[in-house]
């Protein structure tokens, strides 16, 4: 009831606002250029700005239809009343004219004795007759010779009011109208008068004597005629007119009542018809707010049911997609466990919970020990199957309230809620035992998969979630370093272990960078001193952090080496370098790239296959690829190095021995390494101009290289003097800031500038 009243008030308010707005518009008005009021423009402005008619603003469809119905009804009503008035007036007017014509005919005949006997007393009988007709206001008979009134009747209504007699002009027009059957109207109802005044000549006619013998009434007969007088008549139709107005007024009221009833009934019908549509408003509003847990009720007309069905289907799809997104956002797609993001949230909540409830929980960080082996040897699919089985195993080892997630790669985390240290240890032992009993079978081979567990107790908010996690991670690392297949409970006193935690941190970053392509390549020119203008760059890896921060390889490569992910970086660099050569080629540039390989490369038996595949994939010439390995690494794996270098050289690739001279390895090794270039370590070059020892060393190395038929590359060339000295020593290539810093996007023009420096710079010692 309250709602209904409120709606009615709103409707009334809308109507009142419309009226006020129209009044305001009309009052202020729209003025044209001349400043005059423009009514049409004002009304147009009203319709454009009014919410009822404007499409710009949202308003209730039902209200809009009802208002339009009301306005249309009012318009139709006024048109109907106007039409009724006009047609009635027209009919009455025609009727008055006909009545006047009839009366003139009757009174013409009634007046016959008056003219025959020339006795005005005969008029009394005429008066008596016409007195019965109140519409006859007055009547006059005129004689024709002097145009004087011979008899007159004035109704009581007319009283003593003096009415002018026929003027000579009217009489003349009456003479001219002798052949017409119609009287002459002096004043008609059309003039807005109730009194209709007409006049007509009184004519006698006689057939010509000659025509009597051959009379034919069906044809027009020529007759003699004579005007014997005139008749003037006033008919007062005010009674009829008043009656008409009264009837039209009553009729209008009736029509208005009908329209009102029709409007109310129409409103009821429209609201009833559109109720299914209006019922949709609430769920649609909820949808608009982003709530999709709604059901749109479809009832009534087919169109509305179709809309409801479409909406419900859309909502269902949205729900399904939302669920998928939620799953993707919060759960690991492989194992179905919580993902890292959701686990972090759970961890924070758990910290808060333990604080509030003064409870104690434990965080377990689990890392599989042999996962990398499985993954590398049996492939990713086998690795995925292993992870799923481990996930199922772990799920069976935790309680219902505990939280388990796949944190990333082969790392799992568990929040064991409301638990003390002893019980936490029991759980860890239980997991270790289960893993020890677990056998992963793949391709008929059985693998024992163990894990290392880092554990930390959660007791209030002494540490943040990140710190707690770092402690668990660190403990896990400690367990691994202790020999794997064990757990380690974090001890706050183990501060030294925190340092190693940094490596663990790098481990995650590197994993993320490889996974998400957070690495990028920079290019530094390697310029020939022999006049060879072929573009040659050394490829240098950088890590891009949030905020586009560039991280140099010195920061992450040691950790990568230590954590065993350097090989992944190597592969990433190789693949992207080859792709870049291909892109250069597509741009019309023939470019040589020197690619650094880590020491771990010699533990990667698939290097040859991968390089071969990349060469084929990117369609590059193998001789454009120069792999650089450090002297120390090469010497450390001299056997494998020789073998791999040999295999890759069969593809056409070239090799450079990087940091040559640092280790002062036996030159004997050099003979066993089939490299193409010796890259003299920068330490010898940097101060070479001032240091004669370095000069001698460089000269010796260049000499040896020439002897072994290898090219030399001098890096860290930072000034023109060094460059000139190297030229003098007979170095083949130079590289350094003087010739060009490493940049992400290297242009040919930059290389040509470097080349120009090499060819034009002349310093005399």
């Amino acid at each position: 009831m309250g709602n209904k009243l409120e709606k009615d008030e709103k409707t009334l308010d809308q109507g009142w606002r419309n009226a006020q707005y129209l009044r305001r518009i009309l009052k202020s008005g729209v003025r044209d250029e001349s400043g005059s009021f423009n009514l049409i423009a004002s009304i147009r402005t009203f319709f454009r700005r009014n919410p009822l008619f404007s499409r710009r603003k949202s308003s209730s469809l039902v209200n809009r239809i009802i208002w339009l119905l009301v306005i249309w009804s009012v318009i139709v009503y006024f048109l109907a009343v106007a039409g009724l008035w006009w047609s009635s007036s027209k009919v009455i007017e025609d009727n008055f004219s006909h009545q006047a014509t009839d009366w003139v005919g009757k009174l013409d005949e009634l007046g016959t004795p008056l003219y025959a006997a020339n006795d005005e007393f005969l008029f009394q009988s005429i008066e008596e007759h016409i007195r019965r007709f109140p519409e006859i206001s007055y009547l006059r008979y005129y004689e024709a010779e002097e145009n004087t009134v011979i008899a007159q009747y004035l109704s009581q209504k007319l009283g003593d009011s003096s009415l002018p007699e026929l003027t000579p002009a009217i009489i003349e027009s009456l003479r001219l109208s002798i052949d017409s059957d119609q009287p002459v109207f002096i004043h008609t109802a059309q003039d807005g008068l109730s009194l209709v005044q007409v006049a007509a000549p009184i004519v006698t006619r006689s057939i010509r004597s000659n025509d009597m013998m051959d009379l034919n009434l069906e044809e027009s007969t020529s007759e003699n005629y004579k005007i014997i007088g005139y008749l003037e008549l006033g008919l007062d139709f005010s009674d009829y007119r008043n009656k008409l107005i009264e009837n039209i007024f009553l009729g209008s009221l009736g029509v208005a009542l009908l329209f009102f009833v029709a409007a109310i009934f129409g409103r009821f019908l429209i609201k009833r018809s559109l109720r299914p549509l209006t019922n949709m408003r609430k769920p649609l509003n909820q949808l608009a707010k982003g709530e999709i847990d709604v059901q749109v009720e479809g009832e009534g007309d087919e169109e509305i049911v179709a809309i409801a069905n479409a909406l419900n289907t859309t909502i269902k799809s949205l729900k399904s997609r939302d669920e998928e997104l939620r799953q993707l956002a919060n759960y690991d797609s492989l194992t179905g466990l919580l993902n890292k993001h959701n686990f972090n949230i759970q961890l924070k909540q758990e910290i808060q919970r333990t604080l509030v409830e003064e409870d104690c929980s434990a965080l377990l960080f689990i890392d599989l020990d042999q996962f990398k082996h499985v993954n590398d040897n049996l492939g990713h699919a086998a690795g995925d199957r292993l992870l799923k089985q481990v996930a199922d195993l772990l799920k069976n080892r935790i309680r219902t309230d505990d939280v388990i997630s796949r944190f990333g790669g082969d790392e799992f985390t568990i929040i064991a809620k409301s638990i003390q240290e002893r019980d936490a240890r029991t759980i860890a032992e239980s997991i270790l035992k289960a893993m020890q009993q677990f056998v992963f079978v793949e391709n008929g081979q059985a693998f024992n998969i163990y894990c290392s567990i880092g554990m930390v107790l959660i007791e209030g908010d002494a540490f943040s979630a990140e710190e707690v996690f770092s402690q668990a991670d660190m403990s896990c690392f400690h367990a691994k370093s202790e020999g794997r297949n064990r757990y380690h409970m974090f001890d706050l006193t183990q501060q030294e272990e925190l340092r190693k935690g940094a490596d663990i941190s790098w481990s995650k970053r590197i994993s993320d960078a490889i996974e998400n392509d957070y690495f990028t390549l920079f290019y530094q020119p390697v310029v020939s001193l022999d006049g060879d203008d072929a573009e040659h760059y050394e490829v240098l890896i950088r890590m891009v952090m949030e905020g586009d921060e560039i991280i140099h390889p010195n920061a992450f490569l040691p950790a990568a080496e230590r954590l065993g992910v350097a090989i992944d970086i190597d592969y990433w660099v190789v693949r992207n370098s080859l792709r870049k050569i291909s892109e250069f080629h597509q741009d019309g540039r023939d470019v040589y790239l020197s690619i650094n390989l880590s020491g771990r490369i010699f533990d990667a038996p698939e290097l040859y296959e991968k390089v071969k595949r990349y060469i084929s994939q990117y369609n590059v010439k193998a001789d454009r690829i120069i792999f650089e390995i450090t002297e120390q690494t090469a010497v450390r794996h001299i056997e494998k190095a020789g073998e791999i270098i040999g295999k890759l050289m069969t593809l056409g690739c070239k090799f450079a021995l990087d940091d040559f001279g640092v280790g002062f390895s036996s030159f004997n090794y050099l003979k066993r390494l089939p490299v193409n270039y010796l890259k003299i370590d920068g330490d010898f070059i940097t101060d070479m101009v001032q240091d004669p020892v370095d000069q001698a060393m460089v000269q010796s190395m260049i000499q040896i290289a020439k002897t072994l038929n290898k090219k030399t590359i001098a890096e860290y060339v930072q000034d023109a003097a060094t460059l000139e000295m190297l030229k003098g020593f007979g170095a083949d290539y130079v590289q350094g800031y003087y010739l060009g810093k490493p940049v992400k996007d290297i242009s040919k023009k930059a290389y040509e500038e470097a080349l120009e420096r090499v060819t034009t710079n002349v310093i005399t010692f």
Binding site: T112, A116, T204, R205, S206, I207, M213, D214, L217
Partner: protein, 333 residues
């Protein structure tokens, strides 16, 4: 109105006087011209009228028609058929100048007797001296003082005796008949009264001056079951005829008219004087007055024969059985 009549008479007199002073040769040539222009070939002589023709031998007769209306021409032909080559027929046109010259020729013609058919012709020859005028088809001759010693007529109205006799036979229950006419028809109306009385019919006579009065009086008639409309052009107009006949028909009045063309407007039957009988009477009067200074006999002689036509539809409306004798007259046959 009297002033206008006076001036017209004055102009005509002066004109006649001037014509009388004109040379004779010129006159003759003009008569010849008139003959040439207007005389039509006479119809074959009728055997019955042979004696009359013989009597009027040596007499030149000029037949003057008011117009070329059918009844006028038919009557003229009947007369000419008897008189033969001695008859000259002249038709007035109604145009003043032309008719004036014709009248002058008539005056100066050698014809001693004139037959004037219709009011216009009768009035035109009224003032001609030394010629005998027999007029016919004139209803209101009294108005114009047409009856003189040398000017007498044959009645153009049907015989009331025969009319009432026939009417009685057609409508045995007829009781009251009204006649509304113009003034100065006393002679004829006296005959009418007698004829009506002879048939046991009450007669109501009213005299009016205009068509309006005719309508008014006609509509004012009470307890009248028959109305006879005379061919009095002074009080008749097309509107009056239509209105009165329609009014009368609606009120069960048997209306007797003077023209077959009025039957379709509600007339019960029409009556016209028999043209051949009328011609005989004319010829008789010509014969009787030939060689005499005056025309003997009454001013206007009746024609005791008429033609009639009956509207069978109206008869049915009145539930009247038409006697066998009258069946030949049904629908104006």
């Amino acid at each position: 109105m009297n002033k206008i009549k006076f001036y017209v008479a004055l102009v005509l007199s002066v004109f006649v006087l001037l014509q009388g002073c004109a040379p004779a040769a010129k006159k003759e040539s003009k008569v010849a011209n008139i003959k040439k222009e207007v005389v039509e070939k006479p119809p074959a002589p009728v055997v019955e009228t042979k004696k009359i023709v013989e009597k009027s031998e040596q007499q030149h007769v000029l037949i003057l028609l008011s117009s070329s209306a059918g009844p006028y021409k038919r009557l003229a032909n009947e007369i000419r058929r008897s008189i033969g080559e001695y008859a000259t027929q002249v038709i007035l046109t109604g145009k003043y100048a032309h008719d004036k010259s014709i009248i002058n020729e008539v005056k100066s013609s050698k014809a001693t007797q004139i037959v004037a058919i219709g009011l216009l012709a009768a009035k035109a020859v009224k003032a001609i001296e030394n010629k005998q005028v027999i007029f016919t088809h004139v209803v209101n001759y009294q108005d114009n003082d047409l009856v003189t010693e040398n000017s007498k007529g044959v009645c153009g109205l049907p015989s009331p005796e025969l009319l009432f006799k026939d009417w009685r036979k057609l409508s045995p229950k007829l009781t009251t008949v009204a006649i509304i006419s113009g003034k100065n028809l006393d002679t004829y109306l006296n005959r009418v009264k007698k004829a009506a009385k002879a048939q046991g019919i009450k007669l109501r006579l009213d005299q009016v001056s205009t068509d309006k009065e005719f309508i008014y009086k006609s509509k004012s008639l009470k307890a009248v079951d028959g109305q006879w409309i005379l061919p009095d052009n002074r009080v008749l107009s097309a509107k009056a005829l239509k209105e009165v006949m329609a009014y009368g028909s609606r009120r069960g009045r048997q209306i007797v008219v003077f023209s077959p063309k009025l039957l379709s407007f509600g007339g019960f039957f029409y009556v016209q004087p028999d043209e051949s009988k009328m011609a005989k009477v004319v010829l008789q009067r010509l014969s009787d007055s030939a060689g005499k200074t005056t025309i003997p006999g009454d001013g206007v002689l009746p024609v005791m024969s008429h033609t009639m036509g009956i509207n069978q539809n109206i008869a049915r409306q009145f539930n009247l059985k038409i006697p066998d004798k009258y069946r030949k007259n049904i629908n104006g046959q």
